[in-house]
Subunit: 127 residues, 2 copies
DNA sequence: CATAAGGGTTCCCGTGACGGGAAGGTCAAG
DNA sequence: CTTGACCTTCCCGTCACGGGAACCCTTATG
């Protein structure tokens, strides 16, 4: 399986797949012509990576999750710990963004948005 | 006013202030000894920048906002447009993060988090 | 058989908004 | 005179890739 086919199968750009190999997340074999040759396990790992990335896990988290996934003797507590930590980061980000949203909404609602110069948004930023 | 004093006044790290000068957001004068010398207007602009950045505006947005702020003939519609566009980005981010949060919460709740290997989180990622 | 199209490869630079740290100049106090 | 706290520039690292150049391989077509 060549890289573009794997790209379609995993919905990942070829660039991303090469990058994942470069940083050691996958180790596809090479054909005689130098092309990467992906087997079913490579595709499996890439789909796992795509899902984990879609949930916002960092590459390093993904590396750990992949290792746990491959480890039959893992403790689910280890997986859960990574996920909970990440979940907290997400919640914190949502909280920060929600606060920004509230302030911005106020300012935008207060602004006439016409051709006159007086603007509560700029006033809010200027204090 | 030297950079560290301005840093305290604006709650911005010196590194950030130097960066803002480098990319042309401020143009503090220089003392004879080569030190940056900030006047009240510089501090004003920096405080404006700090607030805008705290609301999540990009540096380029900040550049535009600063220009509008300085322009007495501005139309508040221009300011409002920038803010509304940014607000939409924030809403989109919140939506994406909330979706991640929902999925992750499900997975984390389903996981026993003990020393056994069976883990719904990994299963969810592996499909 | 030459060539063109459509794969693949490596390599290097750019992103956004700074932070860390090195190497060195300046200034006030003891 | 030295110490310590400032300040300066410069360069590299972040994170997860994307764009593009320069070049090789394979297959189809005129």
């Amino acid at each position: 399986m060549n890289i573009s086919e794997v790209g379609r199968a995993t919905d990942l750009p070829a660039k991303t797949i090469r990058y994942y190999e470069e940083i050691g997340l996958i180790q596809p074999k090479r054909s005689a012509n130098g092309y990467r040759s992906f087997d079913a396990q490579d595709v499996h790992r890439l789909r796992f990576l795509a899902r984990a990335r879609a949930l916002g896990f960092s590459i390093e988290d993904c590396r750990s999750l992949l290792a746990l996934w491959a480890d039959r003797g893992r403790a689910s507590a280890d997986v859960r710990h990574i996920a909970k930590t990440h979940l907290k980061e997400i919640k914190d980000k949502i909280a920060a963004l929600t606060a920004m949203q509230a302030t911005l909404t106020e300012l935008v609602d207060a602004c006439a948005g016409n051709d006159r110069p007086d603007c509560p948004i700029l006033q809010g930023l200027a204090d």
